[in-house]
Amino acid sequence: MNGKQHSTRFVGFNEDLCTGCASCLRVCPTKVIRIKHKKSIRIVNQCIGCGECIRACPAGAVRAATSDLQVLEKDHVAVALVSPVLYAQFPGIMPKDILLGLRQMGFQHTIDMSYFLEMFQFATEEFIKRNRETRHAPWPLISPVCPVVVRLIAFQFPSLMPHVLPVLRPVALMAREVKRRIIPFYMETGEEVALYYINPCPTKMDWSNLEPDNQPTTPEIALGINDIYPTLAGHVRRIRESDAIPFYQTRFEYETCATGNASMWAMSGGEIADMDIEKSLAVSGLEETISYLHKIEMGLFQDIEYIEFRTCREGCLGGVLNVIDKYLAKSSVQKMIKMFGLGRRLPREKILRLYEKGDFQTEKRPSRLLTLFGGPQEGISIESMQKIEKLLKVLLGRDCAACGAPDCRTFAEDVVRGNASINECLWVRAQGKKKGKTL
């Protein structure tokens, strides 16, 4: 796929701010970015939405493709789907004050994730327990929670797709609940309901491809935590300064119900810490994640039942759209755990009944994921690969990225695919001049 667009599904590049420094090229795990003519960005492959380019850009030229806060002024019932990572941005402040702040900002409903995290945990424990007998799925199972990990597997480790736990993600369970209960509630009055995902990372809510088809009629909007933070912080401050006891009225039980168990999910290891699984691991950071996926592909860790991967270091609180430092956020999570304690509130039997009904099952269709992103890149033939190897001998091999490709191998591939000219390499040009000719 060769496009000239300056944005992917998850991030956008501002060429006016871009200095052409190539920092983003080097960190991109799927090597989707090229710089042409010093600072013209081109996207050539599948972006998985990890956000590393946003983190790496010193010029602030890369932004998440989230929506503008102004969409809130639209005439619809705004439902905020709140990730527990948001609470970690406000050390020492109770989640209920933060949710109240959101409602003052104009969200009619604020959905806390705690319930759905518990549901996911019950379903996961049950699946793993049964899998010990049936062995339908191979060990180690891989957590489906971080969407970047699932896309990374679909594009770069397709042989590991059967390892991805086939249980609906907490966010999907949460969105489904809103569609089942809140939307019908407003159907009578004829009001339109919009779902707002408040996210710590640019991965959005791009999940229709992995889950049963949902009604396309509901608008779904992604907001970064950094998009809402300044406004929200103002409301939260006023709530805290006010002498009045905050008055709550919520219609659904999951509108205010933060728990220590749920807060913990913002940290790496928080998903598995309270799960009843014999052997599990938590791995965080993009590099580590890739390295462990390689190891699983090579047949390691078959004695581990479940691995929680987060591509952001320290977990979701390390997400690139967060506002406060990840270690401060971590300490705030640890305080919350101390305050709320651990333990679940949903009755296990009820969840088990839903599990029997298949309420948590998902479908995995990597092929569909691939087509959604414009299909896999064409494979390199044996002949082309020989040409690439030959070219690599001519190139210097320093991966300087001056040509606008992330490394020499990728550049050689681009040349053989016909997407770049060998003369874009500075070293090749210098050699040519020395010999008084162009290569």
Partner: protein, 146 residues
């Protein structure tokens, strides 16, 4: 047409970089769009072979030969060699020392795993002369690059 040959060095007892040669082979095959299941089999064989070379071999190399009808993966080392190849092919047989076992290796599954995952395996070794393991994977319909 002659096939494509790539070779990657393996350093004896370098556990920090063990597995990297195998990962390079995987990446190469992935960029050529081979069937994921075939790549997984080669990944497992490459890793087992590489670990054997790291633990028991002197320095060596992992080599992949790509042809239109087959892939040949070769692990070659200049190490201590295998005294009884038939015995080494048995599941659970291992000559790994206690240090390696403590590290989680030496379950005696290396060669058996390679045999299980390759279509054909040829082991050549002599005590003190190093070991060469050649694994052949025939390209069947559906394995070919799209």
């Amino acid at each position: 047409m002659a096939g494509l040959v790539k070779s990657f060095n393996i350093k004896a007892r370098d556990f920090n970089h063990a597995g990297e040669a195998s990962i390079s082979v995987q990446s190469l095959l992935k960029s050529m769009n081979y069937n994921p299941k075939l790549i997984r089999r080669i990944a497992i064989c490459g890793y087992e072979g590489e670990m054997n070379a790291v633990m028991h071999g002197g320095d060596g190399f992992l080599r992949i030969e790509i042809d239109s009808d087959k892939l040949v993966l070769e692990v070659s080392d200049s190490g201590q060699g295998i005294e009884d190849i038939e015995l080494a092919m048995q599941a659970g047989y291992s000559t790994a020392n206690d240090d390696y076992r403590e590290m989680g290796f030496g379950a005696g599954m290396g060669l058996p795993n390679m045999k299980k995952n390759a279509d054909q395996i040829i082991v050549e070794s002599e005590k003190g002369q190093g070991t060469q393991v050649r694994m052949i994977f025939f390209i069947k319909e559906g394995d070919m690059p799209a």
